[in-house]
Symmetry: C2
Subunit: 122 residues, 2 copies
């Protein structure tokens, strides 16, 4: 299916091909990429986009879970746009890529609270 | 994140770990596995689960796109349940895993029509 998902005009993307989809700020500058999506098993709905910012902000290769509501897909750019200030991202919850990271309701709530969105976990 | 997604009690699953989640029939017999999920880029909602049935039904390793509404997550089983007759599956739209398969609105509509669900593409 490699043909399909590389076409930005296609409305669907295979979950295993999400990695590398670009994330931009409102000014259209590339911030990083979506590395993964956390999906609710029951509803099939994306709850968090897991982003990395590359070297941007000196954050290195940390993984930043963003509530999905913070990500808007921009067909023209072929990627997601976040309307977040640099300082907000700098202080955002993240974890090291190599961590055997454990996703808990408490962690999820702290992420949702940070971005001031209704919590998935309540 | 490998620890997390292997716990069936966790409500979230990383998109890149979906591969291999079991699919059962109503009798609790394992039919096959979810190999992938096709996600709407904008809404982040799962639209199709891409299944394979292994050797079951002699269908070999074909890929079967199922409208997500046909899949119910069963926490006890730790996998998805489909309420579909063997004959329905035998005649369902599928494509070879190695095909450079092209997902078109026409193909999507044929899948939705086959399973008699409102079409994502209309």
């Amino acid at each position: 299916m490699s043909d399909v998902t590389e076409r930005t005009s296609d409305p669907l993307i295979a979950a295993d091909r999400v990695t590398g989809t670009a994330v931009y700020n409102r000014a259209g500058e590339k911030l990083g990429t979506v590395d993964n999506i956390m999906i609710d098993k029951v509803s099939g709905k994306a709850i968090y986009g897991i982003m990395s910012f590359g070297g941007f902000l000196g954050i290195g290769e940390n993984q930043f879970p963003l509530p999905w509501s913070q990500l808007s897909y921009d067909k023209r750019l072929g990627g997601y746009v976040v309307d977040l200030d640099k300082r907000v991202l700098e202080g955002a919850p993240s974890y090291a890529r190599d961590d055997r990271f454990e996703w808990t309701p408490e962690y999820g709530r702290s992420v949702d609270k940070y971005y001031r969105v209704p919590s998935y976990w309540d």
